[in-house]
């Protein structure tokens, strides 16, 4: 499975430009004509549009709800907004600064959790992947397979023993527990992905640098790292979304305290304790999802590439 352009522009070659006889169509043109025939099928278009609408409406409804006044939300459905438009930011204000919700604080927590939890595993994994790809040492392949195999260990298996270690060393309830846990859980996948990318780099490039007398560290920084930018970007988007959206790890290690707990924990809690306060839940949900959606929109290209490279985490 590799990414490939839909209509790889085939350069019109010389013989194709010869005027004699009907010109042979390029592949791109064939595909284009095919696309035209596709578009004319009203059924296909109709089904696609219906699906797109179905997939969008739930989010859209909650978005509309989040900007309606509290009283209106309880009295009528969000679809009445189109005939009776109202606009307020009061819900967002309440959710962010209200003493009982304080999403502002949790937003900071999520940010503080996410950034190191992205940087740390990427750094460690890059180094390890380099060693697995380009340093020869005894037992390397076996070790790599073992790391690869760790991908399938479900998080659930590790939570309680890890928690008890954190408690023992006095780190329980601090950011360190969440940082360390996320970093560790990300490693097998990150190493695997980076290793795949590194293996694709031509051997001659590395050998050439080696002949020039470059050591491993210099090869890593000067030769490989610049070529790995897309891979790192892909995994960054990945890990960012994963950590930002995670509930299980945060719930286990950070608990519910406003000092450490992230948005997801607070949101889940709110959904349980004040499940009917849709003015809070709608605005809260959008506070939580705005950053990952932006990251996603800007990094979609890399994200997709990461997915195609087998980057799926469990």
């Amino acid at each position: 499975m590799t990414t490939s352009n839909p209509g790889i522009p085939v350069e019109p070659s010389v013989e194709q430009k010869r005027p004699s006889g009907p010109r042979k169509l390029t592949k791109a043109e064939i595909r284009a004509s095919e696309a035209k025939t596709r578009l004319t099928s009203p059924w296909a278009t109709g089904i696609a549009i219906i699906m797109a609408i179905l997939w969008t409406i739930p989010t859209f409804g909650l978005l509309i709800t989040s900007i309606r006044p509290q009283a209106s939300i309880q009295q009528s459905g969000w679809w009445t907004w189109f005939t009776n438009p109202e606009f307020t930011l009061q819900n967002y204000e309440t959710v962010l600064t209200g003493s009982s919700t304080a999403f502002g604080t949790y937003f900071v927590n999520t940010l503080v959790i996410t950034i190191p939890a992205v940087v740390i595993p990427i750094t460690i994994a890059l180094l390890a992947a380099y060693a697995f790809a380009w340093i020869e040492f005894r037992g390397r392949d076996l070790l790599f397979v073992a790391v690869f195999a760790l991908q399938i260990v479900p998080l659930q298996v590790t939570l309680i023993p890890l928690l008890s270690i954190y408690v023992d060393v006095g780190l329980a309830g601090s950011f360190w527990t969440v940082w360390l846990s996320h970093s560790i859980f990300a490693l097998p996948l990150a190493i695997f992905m980076f290793h795949n990318f590194m293996k694709d780099i031509p051997r001659s490039l590395v050998e050439a640098a080696r002949v020039d007398g470059a050591g491993h560290v210099r090869i890593f920084f000067r030769v490989l790292l610049p070529l790995l930018v897309p891979a790192v970007a892909a995994f960054t988007v990945f890990q960012f979304l994963w950590v930002w959206n995670d509930l299980l790890v945060a719930l286990t290690f950070a608990g519910g305290t406003p000092n450490v707990a992230p948005l997801t924990v607070r949101l889940a809690e709110l959904s349980g304790s004040r499940g009917q306060d849709w003015h809070l839940l709608s605005a809260g949900a959008f506070v939580a999802l705005i950053v990952p959606v932006l990251i996603f929109l800007f990094g979609q290209r890399y994200f997709v590439r990461g997915l195609l490279a087998g980057g799926v985490k469990g």
């Binding site: 499975m1 459905g77 679809w79 900071v108 940010l111 309680i160 509930l247 719930l251 997915l307």
Partner: protein, 394 residues
Amino acid sequence: MSDTQTPEKADASASDATAGKHKNPVSYGALAVGFFMILVFAGIVGLVAASFFDAVPEITWPSFLVESDTAVRKLGLMVFVVLLFVGVMALLLFMVDSRKRVPNWTVAIAFVGPALAALLLGLIWPGISTLIQSFYGRSPWYDPERSEFVGMANFSTLFTTPEFQVVLRNTLIWVILVPLVAVGLGLLYAVLIDRTRGEAISKGLIFLPMAISLVGASIIWRFVYEYRAPARPQIGLLNQLLVWLGLEPYQFILNVPWNTTFLIVVMVWIQTGFAMTIISAAIKAIPDDIVEAARLDGVSGLRMFRYVTIPSIRPALLVVWVTITMTTLKVFDIVRTMTGGNFQTSVVANEFYTQSFRQFDFGLGAALAVLLFVIVIPVVVYQVRQLRISEEIR
């Protein structure tokens, strides 16, 4: 491949014992790194052992490291950690990167060591510990006063108690339905929008739920399912639709047995985008000549789909299927946020949380976690084998 940093060193298999005799002196910095990493490993093993015997000394961390009550402190700590971490790694590398002779094992250990240490501490040891715990009762297995060995009792509880049988049945329904529907819809959509105008946007609409947290998605859908008594105006879209059709509003989340299906819808909503993306890329990767040859033979429409598209993207379909199965197996956030596992909707991953952190029955919790692990293994083995086969064909 050269064994050491210095090109002039010819003997690639020189052991560390001969290192001292070599003319070019060994880099002490690199050796220090090697010993440092060995110390780290020893430290981790020691820590695990001490934790095991409940003998970890009380550590008082500087308050700025563990206390984070204001935004400034939090952000400051975050910057500190990132810098500290990058600094330590840079130092390790700097010490390894010497003009002097560097034994190969120190380079290898500097590069791989941190990852291995982390995995040992955070995945391998906890995994083993949980496995052992699954054969013990409620209390931690390493607690000599309270722990009791129960053998397979936890597992037989899981398989014979009616409430857990419901959990297992639900998990089975999730694991079958979510991949089936998500892959089906993803395939349908990918084919429908392939090479149409505005393809990127149509894809983005379906794909976007992937960026939303499962908690967020659960809230979005709880609002769709929101129920009000028949006399009151409905605010949930689905119930309003029912009312418009002249039907009674329905408690989508509460009413057994269909409520599990309505939770599954949320997961399908998220995973379809993933399936669609991978399948779409696979469709685009079908070699043009195959499609062209089929067209020349007069194949088109559904037959093209059945005899050209599907066989060509089989490996992609398989990967998507397996991946979604594994993700679904561990689904926790949706059940927890929407029902808390009540109304007979619990699944294994949610029940693990409930037993471990609500009931504090570590034995049962561990058994549920181990169960998750055991179910995953055959799925992964199957995938690896299939992938190997498809690679051989290629």
